[in-house]
Point group: C3
Chain length 348, copies 3
């Protein structure tokens, strides 16, 4: 598939600096790109580092960013991110289609309500009492438990496991290997042994949530574990029983959230963050990667470290620690000067 | 399902303060509860924070905890945790039953020994030489490898993968997506390449263990990886080859334990703890969340931090670090006072 | 299976100190070993700790390591690691064989190209356009997406999920529950909502890679996520979209690598390391467990800590912090001595 750079400029409403007639055959990262491909410079740092060395034939970049010695043709745009999504889409292979229909090997209980236009793959199992909304796509080896309700236009990839009585909204995307509704982790010590606390609650996932591969979201002890509308969860995240995640949150890979904690809306937890149980994380909180959150966090805070504290405090603390060698030197110096003075005073 | 508060008081042997005749329709957390529901106050902090604001019609709490301005009816008990489990159980939906029987799609090798009353779900695969104990429930898409032996009354949820020659005790619960018996991670460098060390050992899980969703427990290089009786493992935990976990341990979500490490009995590892290889963690050790354990730990210690050290030491260290700005100020002050003295001495 | 110690000495080209005629029945760790078994001492520390107490009948150890009071027969060798692999292999149970053939329940699209001698297990699903190389073994419940190409002699364990258009090299081993090619985690905020950035790239795994259980490797936003030849990845690792991992790397359990980061060759990331996005990690870098890498790392560095810095710097910093109580004492002392001098000066 060949397209001229000029045609791409039209597509993204940008301006070509250089030869608009060259043929572009595909997209690639700035360091991987080869002749004939178009790449992009997302930020000034990238431009400085890699623009001069790229083998791409053309580069998408913002109006105000230097091309940094780049010899490729330039395509100037207002918003390179959005422009590049459009261009990547243009060259993207045809997405895989899953036509409506039910694979003959799917084991679907008699009383399951299936919406119109659903696509159910090979070896899917849907237990009694479940309900699947219109146009859902459920790929091979996925399991839907008893009485679980899934809204319309959901995409469940291969090998998803959703336990009984869960509720999934509309347009939810669940990636391979996700487990929803496993028992919460709760035990009472009775006579020196851990006795399981029944986990009789459920999980509720609202509309437009996306859940990454091999994520685990536990069912509630009672009541509901809740994931709010529009929240996006990356791979291998753990969400404990009775956790409440607000709307439009971003939960990056390998985050763990312990039982009964509440996240507000627009919370961002970067990779490998850990959040203790029974905490309140306010709206708009952002936690840096690997933060360990051990107490309630006020709305809007940016936090970092273990235990997590405001980012500027954490950074200052690190500066103070890095200054320690100098401080110890200074203390030694003061000691010596003081000793000299003491000696002098003695000799007076 | 309606029950009066008085009936619940009888169930949990408690005392009503207020109207024992009100109807209770279900349970919920103190912040989610609505009219007609009963909730509970597990500790004084929760009471202070949320008791006054709850919309629950009744609250279970310990005899010695203040109701903190709560307007709901009170149900006083000795042990609110246990009482609430009973009440939640009372209102819980009927648990899902998996009647005995073998789904026609299960692929079970001819020589597999199946106990009495087993329930084998759709698309389960059981390889030659395996043995399944009485009354085991094995849910759809689960795989049991060659010569693996599973005791009685186990529950294997959907999509569990148990590799060959593993041994599982009685009453073991294994949640969705768990992988038991994958090869340990061991390579020798030979001529600049990683050459796999054969992992010819097995995994042994004792009675009454519970294993959370998507956990991975590797088989031993030789000998056995061992999980002791009554130990409970949360989601997404990694247990390396030849690890020995004692009895009645609690291993919280996303913990990683490297190869050949030994945990005693009653060890508690909180979320995201990492334990290095070839270490000895004594009986009754408790490690705080995100601790990084790099050396042997004596029995009974409470540890925290990276590298992990006794909790009180770690806390004091954090206090010392937080005091640094003041210390630096003090050093400046000493410098100035000393300089003044030196000047004065010079002028004498 | 019984073998004399002398026969084992021949096998590994070693020397017996003691009785070469005793019968050896199997291998075990130095602490688990019982009478009749052979064990090994990998390093001097182990020797000191456990050699005297082992119940093994024989011990493999290097020529230059003390037997530390061990009463077992000794088998001296140059390289105990390699020798013990050979011995463990000798006693290992027959490995499970998966004879060529296609299980009748496998659902394989008509146009899939299957190599010679493949073994396809029960309930495997292979989508249209896929290609499977010679002698591949694909175990039950594994899913191979549209147009995915798998080289020769690969072993895909049970429950692996490989999404569309991925490329897998030769002799690749993929453990249970691995997810390859799930969408990268990328969203643009549009009018206060997260809008998915299409992830139209692929994943490319080179020859001789091994991937641990429940690992997730995301497909690229465009272009490829790349795992280089001979790299070994442990369980529960997350590799983000567009990550480039070089050759012969070791990525230990629960590591997370954020999008678009590049690892050189021979990089070692220990357990639970986190690597930020868009970073360059040079050839031969080693990161200690739980390190948090936030900037580019020069080749050959050994790093540790959060944020990660050279290991010696990190260690010194920890020493400085541990010295704080003494420093504070010293500051107090200086203050007192100075005050005394000031008083004396005033009285002069």
């Amino acid at each position: 598939m060949k397209t001229t750079l000029g045609q791409l400029a039209e597509l993204v409403v940008g301006t070509v600096e250089g030869d608009a007639d060259i043929a572009i055959t595909g997209v690639a990262g700035i360091r991987e790109a080869r002749k004939g491909q178009i790449t992009f410079i997302a930020n000034a740092r990238y431009g400085k580092l890699y623009a001069a060395g790229t083998k791409a034939s053309a580069v998408v970049l913002a109006d105000d960013i230097s091309a940094g010695g780049c010899r490729a043709q330039l395509l100037r745009v207002k918003d390179p991110d959005t422009a590049f999504v459009k261009i990547a889409d243009h060259f993207a292979p045809e997405p895989i289609r899953y036509p409506p229909g039910i694979h003959p090997t799917a084991v679907i209980a008699d009383d399951v309500e299936l919406g119109r236009g659903v696509s159910i793959g090979a070896y899917v199992v849907i237990e009694p009492g479940a309900r699947i909304g219109d146009r859902c796509i459920i790929l091979p080896h996925t399991y839907v438990g008893h009485y679980t309700r899934i809204g319309a236009d959901c995409l469940l990839h291969s090998g998803v496991k959703i336990r009984e009585r869960s509720t999934i909204g509309n347009r939810v995307v669940i990636h391979c290997g996700v487990v929803i509704g496993a028992d919460g982790f709760g035990f009472n010590i009775v006579e020196g042994k851990h006795v399981k606390i029944p986990q009789v609650g459920t999980v509720e996932i609202e509309d437009d949530v996306e859940i990454g591969a091999n994520v685990t979201i536990d069912r509630a002890r009672f009541g509901k574990t809740h994931i709010g509308r529009g929240t996006k969860i990356d791979n291998l995240v753990q969400i404990g029983h009775n956790v409440w995640v607000g709307e439009t949150c971003i939960v990056v890979s390998q985050v763990g959230i312990a039982g009964s904690t509440r996240l507000g809306d627009y919370v961002i937890l970067a990779g490998q963050v850990g959040v203790g149980g029974h905490l309140d994380i306010g709206d708009g909180v952002t936690a840096a990667g690997k933060a360990g959150i051990t107490k309630d966090i006020e709305p809007g805070q940016i936090i970092s470290g273990v235990p997590a504290q405001p980012l500027d405090k954490e950074r200052r603390m690190q500066v103070y620690v890095r200054r320690l060698p100098k401080a110890y030197e200074k203390i030694r110096e003061l000691h010596e000067r003081l000793t000299a003075l003491e000696e002098a005073a003695k000799n007076d």
